[in-house]
Every structure is written in structure tokens, then in C-alpha cells.
Symmetry: C2
Subunit: 141 residues, 2 copies
DNA sequence: CTACATGCAAACCGTTTGCACCCTA
DNA sequence: TAGGGTGCAAACGGTTTGCATGTAG
């Protein structure tokens, strides 16, 4: 597993350090986007010696290289990150337990083209989040 | 015009103050969502005596009463506000000149239902932003 | 006259930065 | 051994808060 991270860092001209590998591993294992301070807490729990600013700098570097990606539009106030398993995606967020589910399909390709025609904009991308209650939280309301 | 703001505040149990009326007027006149510090600057330009924290508190109260609405997911780092001219809407943002266009139609109603069936979530709302270049910025690229 | 609004200054919180030291390639 | 990476502490920017004062209803 670590070999993958090592490769990925090397291929992108980033040096291999125990801190970066640990960050990648946390993001990889985590099944949903996670905030910077949660990454930091998980690193500490694993007894990995690291500074918060190093987390920020490592994350920034890896995001630039598209190894991970940033979600700065989800929850007000702070950024979330996830390992880059696929390209375009959307998010389904439970308003109860705050669980974030990543959606890999996109219902908007056609709509983008229509909108381009209507507005004369050259549309390049979009961000979509859906909010609601997961089956479990919905039951307990 | 001021009568409308006065009514709106009264109906929502908020006191009429020159500061609140001035904020509402700026948001009403502005044709696109605007940041808090820009509201503050415009107030100062109009020689209205107000403190930044009053802007924040007034805006918060008016947002709670649904007189205005908050966009905290658009541009990283700070919140934007707009006068509540209609309910549900989306945003088209020019990556060149940063102009924000509000879109009042929604292509996702059907999709929401499909997703509800597929995930068993109770979906309540969504946020959508599209990014691209407006005709003018596209020309100059 | 009383509860809500405001101004001011200080705190807050996520994030960034400058600088000295460290360590990977 | 050179240049990127790290730790630490301090700064930053948007936002919030405590408290005293002011004012709309």
C-alpha cells in the first residue's frame, strides 16, 4: 500500500516523507471527505509526529498535483479533502449525522450544454451538493 | 422603496433602523450577490455610520427571517449575500471577471427523486454552482 | 421605559507565512 | 550537499462576542 503512495509522490516530483505517506493513508482509508483538523487528530492518534502547518502544506502540494482534492464549499468555514479516486463528482450530505457521500455520476452534462447556448458562456465545471437525511437519521426524526 | 424595507422588517419582528434599511437597499439594488465587506464599503461610501459587527449582526438577523440569503459556498473564504427575490436558485460564476449570475430555473427536480429512490435518503435541498467564462472574458482569453 | 440594536475592542478559528533547522534524493 | 520539507511561533482575514451605551416601539 505504501508503495502506491511512494510512487504517486515520486511521479509528481514530491519528496517522500513519513508525514505525507501518513496523510495519504488516512485520506485513502477514510471513506468520506475529511477536514484538516480531523486529519491532524488522526495523525496524532497514530503517534505520528507532525505539525498542523505541515499538514496544510503537504495537503496543498498534493492537491496541486491532483493526488487529492479539496472541497471548500461544503460545510461553512473549513475545507475538506478526499483522496482522488475519480474525476468529477458530487456530494450527498446528511443534515443529521453530517455523513458525506460521494456521488460519481453526473446528471448535468446535458444541462451544461443547454445553458451554454442560452447564456453564451463557456462553461467549464460545476459543483453540486445535495442535502437531506440518510435513512437512519430520517427514521429518528 | 424604503416603505417596503420598513414593512419587511416590521413583519418579521425586527426593529427599523437606518442601518438595516441601508443594508437592505444596497442588497436590493445590487444585481448580484455581494460580500459583507463590500456591503460595508458601500455603506461607508453613502456616509452611513455603521460598524462592521453591526453589519454582521443585521445580516444574520435578516437571513434568519429569510429576507436575504447567504451563499457561503461560492468563493473560498468569505460569505456572500443577496436580497431574496425568489426561492430556489443556482449560480453561474465567471472565472474571468468573477461576475455572479443567479439562475432561477432548476434542472434537478427529477434527479432528486431518482436519487431518493436509489439511496433511501430524504433529500431536502441542493446547491449548484456552474463555473466558466462569460462571453466577454471568453473572447479575451 | 424596556427590550432590542449598536459601537468598540478583543477574542476566535481556520489558514498562511517567515525563518531556522532537518532530511530526502 | 543542495533544495525541498518540517516545526514553531507569529500573523492574517473573516467572523463572533462581551459589555456598555443608544434608541425604536
Amino acid at each position: 500500500m505504501e508503495n502506491i503512495y511512494t510512487e504517486q509522490l515520486k511521479n509528481n516530483g514530491l519528496k517522500n516523507t513519513p508525514q505525507r505517506i501518513a496523510i495519504l493513508d488516512i485520506l485513502f482509508i477514510e471513506e468520506q471527505p475529511i477536514s484538516v483538523d480531523d486529519i491532524y487528530i488522526k495523525l496524532k492518534e497514530k503517534n505520528i509526529s507532525i505539525n498542523l502547518s505541515t499538514v496544510y502544506r503537504s495537503i496543498e502540494a498534493m492537491e496541486e498535483k491532483k493526488i487529492i482534492s479539496k472541497l471548500d464549499f461544503l460545510n461553512e468555514g473549513k475545507a475538506y479533502y478526499e483522496y482522488n479516486k475519480a474525476g468529477h463528482r458530487h456530494y450527498l450530505i446528511c443534515k443529521g449525522c453530517k455523513k458525506i457521500t460521494t456521488i460519481y455520476s453526473c446528471p448535468l452534462e446535458l444541462y451544461e450544454k443547454t445553458l451554454e447556448q442560452n447564456t453564451n458562456y463557456k462553461i467549464e465545471e460545476h459543483k453540486l451538493c445535495l442535502y437531506g437525511y440518510c435513512p437512519n437519521c430520517n427514521k429518528n426524526k
